[in-house]
Structure formats: C-alpha cells, structure tokens
Symmetry: C2
Subunit: 629 residues, 2 copies
Amino acid sequence: MWYGFAGKLLRVNLTSGEFKVEELDKNELRKYMGCVGYAAKLLYQEMPAGIDPLAPEAKVVLATGAVTGTSCPSGGSYEVCYKSPLTGTWNQARSGGAFGPKLKYAGFDFVVIEGKAKEPVYIYIHDGKVEIKAAKHLWGLNVEETTDTLIRELDDPEISVATIGQAGENGVLYAALINDRGRAAGRGGIGAVFGSKNLKAVVVNGRGGIKVARPKEFAAAIEKAEQWLKNYPLGSIPTLGTVGLVSLNNSLGILPTKNFQETYFEKADQISGEVLNRKYQIKRRACYGCSFACGRYTSVISGKYATPPMEGPEYETVDMFGPICGVDDLEAIIRANYLCNVYGLDTVSTGMSIGFSMECYEKGLLTEKDTEGMPLRWGDGEVMVKLVEKIAHREGICEFLAQGVKRMAEQLGPAAEEAAIHVKGLELPAHEPRSESKVLALQYAVSPRGGCHMHPNWASTWDFGQLDCGMKEFGMPWPPKEVQDESPQKGIAYRYVALQGEISEILGACIFYSWGTEGSCITPQLYAEIVSSLTGWDVTAEELMLAAERSWNLKRCFNAREGFNREHDKLPKRFTKAIPNGPAKGIKVVNLDVMLDAYYEAMGWDRATGNPTPEKLKELGLEFAIMAS
Amino acid sequence: MWYGFAGKLLRVNLTSGEFKVEELDKNELRKYMGCVGYAAKLLYQEMPAGIDPLAPEAKVVLATGAVTGTSCPSGGSYEVCYKSPLTGTWNQARSGGAFGPKLKYAGFDFVVIEGKAKEPVYIYIHDGKVEIKAAKHLWGLNVEETTDTLIRELDDPEISVATIGQAGENGVLYAALINDRGRAAGRGGIGAVFGSKNLKAVVVNGRGGIKVARPKEFAAAIEKAEQWLKNYPLGSIPTLGTVGLVSLNNSLGILPTKNFQETYFEKADQISGEVLNRKYQIKRRACYGCSFACGRYTSVISGKYATPPMEGPEYETVDMFGPICGVDDLEAIIRANYLCNVYGLDTVSTGMSIGFSMECYEKGLLTEKDTEGMPLRWGDGEVMVKLVEKIAHREGICEFLAQGVKRMAEQLGPAAEEAAIHVKGLELPAHEPRSESKVLALQYAVSPRGGCHMHPNWASTWDFGQLDCGMKEFGMPWPPKEVQDESPQKGIAYRYVALQGEISEILGACIFYSWGTEGSCITPQLYAEIVSSLTGWDVTAEELMLAAERSWNLKRCFNAREGFNREHDKLPKRFTKAIPNGPAKGIKVVNLDVMLDAYYEAMGWDRATGNPTPEKLKELGLEFAIMAS
C-alpha cells in the first residue's frame, strides 16, 4: 500500500467472469493525480471512438482519489467515468455517501468494468477479495430492496451498495446508479450502462486503512482546513442544504420555471427549503466524514403522496419536480424524489423530460392520443408522479420520455426544438444561464458532459464576488464582478474556475469545500499541503493545477475523437432571448462566441475547432492524445 | 446537579396544565438508590389503594437511575412505573433506546405525571425546560408518524420520543409506550394509561452531562466492566439477539407452542434467529451505550407481508406470533411485530390474546358467529396479522381480544379457564415454567406485576448452572443445579436471584449485564465500585442488596394494599400437568407451595398472606408501609 492510495486497480471482465488486480504506476498516477484525471487517461487510452455506450466493449471506471476516505473533510466522494448513452460524450458522475471510502478501504483506488455478463450479476469487493456473484434474484428489485437483500445475504450491515433500480434494468437513458440507498451517481445514464452489462450492483466493504506519509503534518493541514471551514461563506449549505437556493434564486428571479420558459415561480414559498425543513425533514444526512451534512432525510406522513423516509430532495430535484413542472405541492415533489431514488433515475433529466412533455402538450405537439388519455398539464402533481413511475418501467408514453429531451425533440420535429432545453443531449439543471455572471452560459456550452453546472465546478461561484477560492495568485482577473459582461475576460477567467474545480475532481474531493477564500475554504494551496503530507510527494498548488489541466484536456480530447467540436458548444435557443418576467426580467445571455474565443485561447485550444492543439498536448505531456489529422 | 444524578424530579399535572420541579432529598434517594426503588416509594406514598388505573388520579413515574446515561455499558434503560389497568397490580415496564439517558441529560431523574388533560397533549422536556403542548394533530397517528411529526415541528432530529399509537388511544388494555421508534415499555398497558390521560407522548432531549465524583476511579471500574464483559457467557445475545433462543429452547423442548398446550414446535427451524439473521435482518441495533446490541432491525422486501425496516422481532415476539399461534411463516411474524410497534401494542399480550382465541375457536368456545365469519385456525398467519390490526382499533371480535386473556376467559366461562395462560391477568411470556430449574414457576407466581420473566430478574439464569452472578458471597445455595426440585431451597435461593436482579432495577441498568460470574458480568460487587466512584457515596454490594430489598418489599406492599396475597400467587392450571410431548415430555412443575413457603420465609414475609411483616418493614426502615390490620 502506498501513502494516500491503495496503489491498486481492479479490472473486472463480465464477459469472461474474470478479474485481475493491477499495480498502479506511481509516476503515471501522479501525472494525473488520480480519480477523474487518471480515469480520463484510462478511458482515452482503452476505449476507442465510436463504441456504443451500451455495448459490451464500453468500459466503466469507478474512481477514488487521494483524499477519498481520509480525514480530509471533503473526502466522501467517488466518481463513475464512462461514455454516456444519453449524450455520446465523456461522462463522469460524482456521488457521496460511503461507497468511495469503503472501496479504498477494501484495497482499490479504481475499478474498471468491461464486457457483459450472460446473466445478471453483482460484484462484491471486500478487503482485497473480489467475487462476481449471481444477481438473478435481485433483478427487478428496487434500490432499497436490493440493498436490504444484499445486506442480508452477505450478512454485513456495513457494506456499501451501489446499485441500479428498475430504470437501469429497463434501459432508461438517464437511469442513475444509487449508492448507500439515496446517493446518486445521477447524470448521463450510468444506470442504463450497468443494465446493458447485466450488472446490478457493486458492493464494497473494507477494513483496511490509508497510510499517511507525514502524519503530524497531515493532521496540522486537516486542522487548518477545519479551522478555515468555520468561516465558510455559503452558510446555507450546512443549515438548509442545497434546497436553501429555492428562496434565494426565486428572489433573484433565476428559478427555472415551466421548462425554463420563465424564471420566477409565484408559489416558491410553498416549496422552499424552510418548509421542507419544518414540515418534512427528519434529519440532516452527511457523506462520509463531512461536517456540512447538506443531505436532507425526509418523509411524507400521510395522504396520497405518503412517502417513507428517504434521502433528499435537494435543490435540483425540488426545482425539477416543482417549478419546472409548475407544481407547487412539496409532497408531490418529495414523492417523485423518492421514486427516482428507489427506481434509480436521475432527478434532473426525469424532471426535465416531464417538463418538456408538459410544454409539448401545452403547444399541441403531444396530445391525449399520445398519452393514453392523460392530460399533461402544468402543475398536476399526480400526473407528474405517475409519469416518474412509468418512466422507470418505460410504460406507454414513457417509452418516449425515457429517451430524454434531445431524442424526443428530434422525433417531434422542429416545432419542439424551442422546448428542448439541453446541451449535447444532457438536460440542463436548475440554474438559469442568463443570470448576472453569464459565465454559467459558457460552462453549459463547454462542459465535457453536456449541460452541466457541476463538472468541474459551479461557474456561478463567480457571482459570489469576493470569493476568489484561492485563485488570485494564479492570475485570475479579479474581482470578477468588475469584468464586463461583453468582455472576453469572462472566457479567460472561466479557465481558472474550471481548473480550480478540476482539482477537486482529481483528488476525489467534494467541490462544495472549494468555495470561499484563503481562510474560509480548501484552496488549491491548502489541498497541496494536504496531499503533500498525505502522499509524501511534494506537491504544489501549481502541480495540482497542471494535473487538473491534463485531466480537463483529456476529456475534451475524448469528445473530440467522438466528433465533438466548437459547433456543439452551444446553448438552447431559448437563452438567446431575454428573461421574460420576474425580478431578472430583461436580462440576456451575452454573446457566447466572444466568450468561447477567449476561453479556447486561454486554454491553448484551436479557436476554429475548440479542441486542444498538438502543441498544447505536447506541453502537457499528452502526446498520445494528438489525433492524426 | 449531584454526582451521578440530576437531583431533580419533574411533576406534571395534566389537569391543571402546570408543572413543578422538585429537588430530591439525597438521603431519601440513597435509601432506595433510585429508579424503580424510588418510584416504588413515590407510588406507594402518593397513590392510595383502589384508584382506577385509568382515572385522572392515577400516577405514572418515568424513572432513571444512577448508571442511566453514563458510560456504564448497561446504562441505556428507563422504567415506567404505574398501576396496571390489565392486572390492577404494581407495574414497571423497562425500555431501552436513548430516552432514559436523554431525560437525565435534560436535567431530571424522574418525571411524575398525574391528572388528565382536557384535550390531547404531549410533554416536551428539553434542557431543563418543560412545555405541555397541544397534540390534537398527533392523535390518530401511529408511532412512526408521531415521531416524524415531532422531529419536524420541534426541529430537532436528536429528540427521543416516547409515544403511544392508536392502541393506547383506543384503550387496549395491553397497549404499550414506544420510544425511539421501536423500543417498548411493553407490558401491563401503560399505553392505555397514557391514552386515558389524553397524553400522546413525552419528548426529551438534553445536552447536559452527568457529573462523576471520582472520575479516575469511575473510569477504572468501567474499564473493568468492559474487560469482564469480554468473557460474557451468553454469547448468543450479542450475536443472534434474544431470538437465538428459538432454536435453543425448541431443542430443549421448552418452546411454548399453541397457547402453551405444547412445548415443541416442529417447524422452529423456519423461524429461528439464524433465518431472521440471514434473510430479513438489515443490521443490529443497540440501546444507548450498549455493546451487546441485542436489537435486530429487519424488513420483509415484498409479498403479502411486506414490511418496512423496523426494530425487532425479539425472541418473545417470534414465539408469540409464531409457535404460540402455530404460525411457521417468519414474514407474518415480522409483519405482526411491525404492526405492534407502530400501533403501540405489547407483543406478548397481543400474541397470547390471539393464541388464546385460537384455542377457544378450536374448542368451540368462540365460533364464526363471534368472529364476523373469520375462522381462527392455528397457523393462519393472515388471520393473525389481521387480528393485530383489529386489536389496535378494537374492531369487531377484537373489542373482545383487546381486554386480554383474563377478562376474555371470565366472559367465556369456566370452560375457557384451562386456556387462560396468565398470572394476575398478565399473559405469560415465551418461557416454559416447567423447565428444568422450576424456579421460573415460582417467579411467575410471585412477580409483582403478574406473569413476568424479567422483573426483577430472569429466574432461569438458575439453569445456567455455573453462573453465580456474584451471588455466592451472599450465601446463595450453590451450585443451584444441586438443589433438588422438591427442595425448599429453591424458594430460599430465589430470594437471591430476585434481589440481585432488583439491583439492576434500582440502578437503571439492563439486566442482561448481570448474568455471568465475577470476571464475566457486572456483579453486585462491581456495581458497588461503579456507583461509589460515580456518586461519591461509599456504597457496598451489601448496601445495594439492602436498597434492592426495600424496593422489592415496597412493590409487594403496594400490591398487598390493593388486596393481593398468597392466594393470588399461583400458576395457570395447565402447568399442574406434565409436558405432553417433545424433548421435555413428562416434566412437571414441582409443588409450588413448598417453594412459596420457603421463599416467603427467606424474605421475612408472613407465610399465610405472603406479605411483608411489620417486623421486616421496620428492619428495612419502611414503617410507613405497615398496614393497619
């Protein structure tokens, strides 16, 4: 075992039913630092262009990082990296809980899954042992049932189970992988990939530790992090959870409503974090080692939306099943969240697919002939909840909804295009890109997994004004508020926002810990201290930025090889118009092209294609990713 | 705050809606040591004979003890003391979980509840503050729903809620009080008492500590206890939970079956602790500070008995809803246990009432005319589960069942008497009194709350042979196996078993920790070390025995004043016959009168009445309990 890492990769071939344990190369790993960075290298090198994401040849990487499972407060994450069946792009889906730490304690930094089992199986990894076990009896069970059954048959209540529900088995293109009962590797359809491989679940447990190179120094760095985090500026994350954003965003007029047609929801006070907290919340929930505990644990006691205790809903989910569908009944939202968790569905794509279909129904593009007589009216919580059930089982109209917004719009023709709110096929999350900073518009356009607000950072941190997240010393234009909307400096600055976020991705850290300033969050400089004392490597913040840049470039290269380029870096048409109502009425997206030009140039990428130049790749030591032209 | 105690008693009058905080008298408290001992004094002095247990005048004491909430591993208990509506006797119902510790952290050793509220209320005790709050919105909710609602409205997920369900509201005579969602103060009908007072729940939380007089010495005593407990002889309690007894007792031929008609259940292997553990258990559950974790946490995933995760079933419950009713379907048993927990029912009395009615149906004493056409056949799990539902709501035939076995038998006439398995109205638990040691037969006859195997000890520990539980030095006839069945020494020896168990009751400790030997359990000598260093009093094992004897005498006095005497110390007729089949075939109860004579004499009680003599009471300093003759 190395310092900070298990030092091992587990490769499981489901076709042959065999697995092997590979020793990692320390220099190679350090080049990418680990987690998503190393997974990007693996998938770039091992998964040639053009493979159907649902074919046996497709590969999946479960990745942990240096801080995963350590006492570093941000270390409860793992990432699932794969080619998305929804978008055809690179995808990475982060999840919290205890799965990542336990995988590492079991002795592996990475698991690479390839092939396809003849019959349903699950993979059981415990303390260095690996078993591929029959899962016929689990097929058809939901996430809760699967978890309960596995705990019993493995006779170990401490296992962490990452499993698909019926949605993944049925090939819903935005099916999720759920670990620890209610934590989702949500976006992009990893659930369908598992289903296509006849892989129901990965189960981990381990009692191994993580060796620390310089324990005193490491303890001091963690202590510093804990002290700094006492000043954490985004106080509502620990108190109200992400759902605190409902009230805030509505007051700013940037709460996506009715499939993004509007940005203000009159009844937001019915579905706010405060109401969730007072009426439905049982307790907060935290990922492994996290003191923020942004997770909620809620239930609905009685009535038509009665729901057993379950993790969530978080902000995205409340907006999706609330304002996006015009629904003002928090109980319907909690029920829909529950169903997504037990069936294994991404709440964002599920909500957006329903919102899209409601808009199409309003416009006459879908009629009751298509919906087995069910009107899809804005605000009808009962219909919404019914649709979630049907999507998981691909029943009736929901065979259509289960494809996601992009494919639905293509089939409905040009008139539906206006309602198709996605980038590269990934439905947008609950963040309005025309908001003050505008930089989120650029992020949506260029994120390697499509319309995403989280990978590799939440560009809107920009809006926080005085929070430099430790980036000042890297030359980030500052303070960002002073950068004019029409200025190309927005594009230049986004490079820093992205790379700072990518540091979390390559360390296996939660991005929430990266927002603040020196003294109030974990800055790249502080991560360098943590990683250095943990691994015994003398890592600087600059080295972390460089490894992050390699990762960020490789993901772009992965997509470039699949045929993506500047043409695909665009926004849904709806955002070329001004916000129509509410407190933010009149605000427009700035000229995206100006920002793209500046961003590509800052990245050292080709302006015309938006892809990394051979020179840039050489400079980063990524010669293998230079494509023959 | 004293050392080891909060030093305060809270008195709540529900009629006036007022409460007051009383300082305890240290010398008075020490005389009884606390918990059940002091509660016995309170109820003896404050609750004259003849009060209807369901009248406003009836009082209830919630009692904690010296070790409650400390790091002493047995300290997760509290006791509810009251006059039982089922038996008319003294009752004390112990429960684990976190309620007791939190009550003490909130600043109170005892809560005395008296009077009757006009409308439903609950009592909220937090950090020395007391509120009597409206509970109209909680009336009609089950235990889970009430707990969830209170967590939300009080906005504190760390509260401990002791609440009744529908059964207590509806006055079922064996309704329980459930705390921490699945821990029951089960026996004797405290739920009905709460219901009669319009009291839905008591909610506690506190962040206060417990002061330790001699911390180093206390830590050393606890460390000794922990070391000793590593040798704990009853290993199946920590591993399989109490339900491990199913297989053991069946193999010995002492598993009560078909309402105690038989003692061997052919299909016991279908419902054993091993099966529960492998197929239904999610995890173990522990009370506050307990390392044994005898609690199970189980669910049934699908099918007609599908059941959400819930605490239990423990051994008693499995026998009651299994062999006692002839049911061999563990899923039906888990479902019935769940319903008892959410509706707030004592599983023992519920199962025995159903078993009794099945025997009456078999014998033609109950027919389908009485049961709305529902046949009550042995082994019918569906009917059994339906009956549990109906008992909670006192529907149809279950208006009759909700009274308990004694009242049912009285109404059915002498022919039903043979099937009425209770002592003083309390239905017997799942322990066969004709088993090897016979001393359990004596315990059932004399327990102050009626047919009870737990208060103040489990007399069957006698069967463990080499386990003296630290009693040798008090002169207990030893080893007990050598005491002949027909010998009066059984009666003499029971005095020690009872008083050793009563030490747990007056300290607020769990009795499970008292079984073993010096070096493998917490003996009276070790408790004396723990209590001395905790309180700063120099308590000896002899002083603990003396306080235990006061408590044990006062409870007998309480019952004597209500009219109970030797005549009532008897066993159901069924046990005067030999065991009819199975491995223990032919075993009979010994002559109870011989044991009674010896026991009364050993206790210093009057042989004719079986009640404490004035001399004995004077010797114990309990002159106030001498009745005018």
